[in-house]
Structure formats: structure tokens, C-alpha cells
Amino acid sequence: MTAHVPVRPFALVLGLLLVLTVAEVVLAYFHVPPAMMLTALLGLSVLKAGYIMAYFMHLKFERFGLFLLLVPATVFCILLFLGFLPDAGRGMMEGA
């Protein structure tokens, strides 16, 4: 099976990923307030991860069912981890 796969879209995605990375670094350079910075960075990272999965890992070109099998459950579990955070700082002894 041979098929001609165009390079252009993938090169564009690479360019975009590089630009988004530069944007992240610029945020760090200007010392944006931490809360804003964290939000922005996570947003950008999720965007980058999305592009990597969609294009480089081809998920966009697979059956939609694969996406449904893999992504929602994983994201759900990771979001659940946030439930740990209210306990951060509890039960820690200080000093010594």
C-alpha cells in the first residue's frame, strides 16, 4: 500500500508548535503573575498536546471511536487528581 502523504500540514503544525513554545517562553521572560502564567501555560500545553496527538499521532485521521475510547477516560482521571490538592499542606509537620 503506497499513498502520497502531503508534508505541508505537518510542517505547519511543527511551525505552530514552535511558535506556541516561544509564546510560553516569552510569558516566562516577562514574569507574568504566577496564577495567570500557570493558566496560560497549561492552556498552551494542552493546545500543543492536542496538535501533537491530532497530527503527529494521526488521531484526527483515525475513526472517532478511537478518540472516544482513549481520551475522555484519561482526561477524566487526570482531572480527578485535582481532588488531591485541597489536602496539600495538611498533615505535614513543620520544622526540625
Partner: protein, 582 residues
Amino acid sequence: MSEPAAVPVHHAPRGFVRRYIFSTDHKVIGLQYFFLALFSVLVGMLLSLAMRYHLTNPDAKVRLFEMLWPDGAAGGLMTPELYLSLMTIHGTIMVFFVLTTAPQSGFGNYFLPLQIGAEDMAFPVLNMLSFWTTFLALVVLLAAFFVEGGAPLGGWTAYPPLSAIPAAGPGQGMGMTLWIASVGLFCVASLMGAINFITTIIDLRCTGMTLARMPLTVWGWFVTAIISLLAFGVLLAAAVLLLLDRGAGTSFYVPGGLIVNDRLLDHKGGSPLLWQHLFWFFGHPEVYIAILPGMGLVSQVLSVFARKPVFGYKAMVTAMLAIAVLGFVVWGHHMFVSGMSPYSAIAFSVLTMTIGVPSAIKTFNWIGTLWGGSIRFETPLLFAAGFVSLFVAGGISGIFLGQPTLDLYLHDTYFVVAHFHMIMGVAAIFGIFAATYYWFPKMFGRSMHSALGKAHFYLTFIGVYLIFVPMHSVGLAGNPRRYPDFKEFEFLAELGGAHTFISLAAYFTAAVQLLFLANLFWSMWKGRPAAANPWEATTLEWTVASPPPHDNFGGVTPQVHQGAYEYSVPGRSRDYVMQSEP
């Protein structure tokens, strides 16, 4: 497009080693898992008998203990540390190497490909690797008994900081390290298994085997594999961090200012609560990993022996999926006493209660399946019905424990022990028994003795209730769990009688299992030869010889035309229609 290749007629490898030891045949691997679990359950049971004996006779000097553990039981007198190490290995072995291994890896491996009409699992070599990794994990775990200091003391939950500090006790040195290594290996093996199961179910169903025609057993294995895939990766990471705390001097789980054995530790900055979160994030899904395959099997068996379609097939599948999702959001109910915010506790409590809904749906549907059926009282049916009974009995105590206010009192008492033994321990074991009696003819080509099987059921059923019902009361009276000796406590003095009763019931129940062992091994060689379909069931494994040929369907890919529960179909000559019948 990759179509599945035509199935060639395969022969089993000739050499003994390739055929029975490093085999890639899912049936051989299934049996390997089965016997690994059988060995484990015997070890686990013997440990529990030693514990029960010690609890009721704390001052007894037992030669056998001294022979087995010269350090822990010098002069035959069991030290508290030895007691705790027996408890740890008992729990770990039972949870991981019995309840996680037998229903999913054992029966799942053997019957999943057969039930969906496949020649083997999707990744036979991976399958073999995952068995041998599990085997290695078991060896490493048992090795903990033989190293300096013996096995660890912290129970199957291994809470830090003590589990993170080698100096914390005799078993917390090398023994604890081995325990963590074993659990880590087990995680890897389970992940390999999960990948294999999911891929097999998605890719290798034969023509006509739509999702809605899959037997509920297959759904049980499928949902369990998905849970495993999501949960074991978390435990693996948590275990690696614990290992680093012990070996590399990090302090992920160790707070500052801790004094152990009169020595101030260097560690600082970590959080023991973090382990509790990670462990239970895995731990609660894990209890469903143990029970879901049993749920599938019970649905199957009840339908076969009631000669009726499963009541509410779709509701059963939906309930399993709902349990899987909800199982991930309730881990906090194990941490009510950890000092968590009361608001989190309420959230976890409410979510925990909602699991009751799918659980109740399943229970009602099981009863609905039996209702009005022409029931054949064979041993598998009895054990399946026993499963339902135990599941309900254990679920009700769960509702108590799910209330934060009640749990403040009940946590770490024998009430919890009774709860999880009823629902996870014994119910899942009943599922395993049902599966063994049900599939034995297919696996070994012979039948198990029926009267002996029934006797085994009735005596075990009575026995486990005799053990665990009084255990609830002992817990309600405030008896703490994980204590080697109760006579130090005045308020527990009057519970001595109850404890003696529980121990006697335990010896009785353990003795009854000899019936099972005798039946199992006797029938393997001497049992009545079994027909291909002795129970008149509809699923594909019953279309092939008993035991099935090496390539399952002899090179012909089966085709499926029916759902899995076509019993008592009007207008047919027989009261059932095989899935492969047009």
C-alpha cells in the same frame, strides 16, 4: 485496511517447555494463572488460620510457628511483629494474587478468546510475559518472609511514613522493599494484561459477535481491563516514589520532624496523605477489578441454570460501566479520618452512596433472572446465588461505612474487616468457585462431583456467615483491626467469646475447603468424562470439544447469529439456541 488474516490450523508446540511452561496459548496461560491463584489462596488461608489461632490463644507456644519463623516465634510464641507480617502478606496475596488474578487473568485468559470466537489473545507473547511477571511478583513477595527482619508490617495498604522508613520495624527493611518491588511488578503485569484484554475484545470478535451479543462475562472482563489500565499506572508511580523514599533519601511521603526509634530523621517536606490519595485512587477501583469479573460470571451462570435470558442485559452492561466510572470518584471514603475537609468528606460520601444505584440494579436483575425460571440446582448456580447474597450483605455494611460520621467510629475496626471480607473477599471467591464448577468440564474434559460440590457450597456458605456476621458486632463494639492481642484492653475482655466463635468458624470453613481440593484434583483425573456442552449453554466455548483443541475452533472461524442468552425460546426443539446457530 487490515482484515484479520485467515486462521491457519495450528498445532501445539511439541516440547514440554514450550507447551506447558513458556506457552503462548491463552488456555495454558489461563490455567497457569488459575494454579498460581490456587497456590496463593492456600498460602493466604493458612496465614489467616495462624492469625485466628493467635488471636484466640495469644500465649500459646506453637512448635510449627517456631519451625516456620524461628525469629518471629522464638520458643513458639508469636511476636506482635510476626502477627502483623502474616497479616500483611495475607492481605496482599489475597487481594493481588487471588482476587485480581483468578477471575480476570485466569478465567478471562482461558475463556475470553473462546467466547468471542478468537484463536488466541491479540498478543500471545505479551500474555506469556505478563504471566511470568506475575509469577516473579509472587516469588518476590513470598521472599519477604525469608530475608532479614521478615515480611513487612504495614498491611496491604502500606501507609507511610512507617513504610517509607527502613528503621521503623523489623519487617520494614528488606521485607518492605521486596513488598514494594512485588507490587510494582504486579502493576506492570496487570497493565500488560489489560492492554491485551482490551485489544482482544475490540479486534478479535468473530463475525456476528456484536458488542450487544457479547456474553456478560466478556463485558465484565472488558470493563475490568479498562479499570486496570487506568488504575495500575497510578499505583506503579506511587510505588516507585515509595521506593525512592526508602532507597534514595527522598521525602515524598515523609514529613519533617519525625522521630523513629529515638532518632530524628533527616527527611522533611513530604506528605503521608499523598500516599493515601494515590493508593486509594488505585485502591477503590481495585476492589471493582476484583468483583466485576465475578459479576459477569454470575449473570452468565444464573441465566444458564434458570434457563432464562438475563433480565435486563442492557441495564447490566450500563450498570457495569456506571460502576467503573463511579468507582474512580469515591476513593476519599477510605480517608474520612485522615483529617480531610468536611466538605470533601460530604462529596465523597454522596458519590459513594450513588454506587448503590448500579449495584442495586445488578442485584435486582440477578433476582429477576432467577424469577420464574426452571432452575437447575447445580453447584455453579448455588455459588452464583451465594455471590448475590454475600454481595448484598457486604454492600449494606458499605452504606454504613460511607457515612463520614459513622465511619469516624467504625474506621479501623473489625466492622470494616467484616465489610470487605463479605463483599470483596468471600463474594469474589464465590464467583471463582462458581466459575470453577461451571467451566471445569470445559477445561479438563471431566466433570466435578456434584454432591460433593453441593456439600462444599452449603458448608462454606454457612461457614462464612458464621465467621463474618459476628465480626460486624465485634467491630461495632469498638474492637480495632490490625491488633495482635486484645487482652491488653479491658473493654474488649467480654468479646473473647465472640472471637473464639469466629476462630472456630474459620477453622471449620477452612476444613470444608478440603472437600473442594479433593473434588478438584480427583475430578481432574477420575471425574466422569464431560460432553462438549454439559450445561446446555449457548456461548461459543461450548461448541468445541472439552478440552478445546490447541487452536480453539480447529481452524474454522465461527460465526455468531444470536445473542448470548437465548434460553426457553418458543418454537424451537430445544430450550436454548447456541450463539453460532443461524
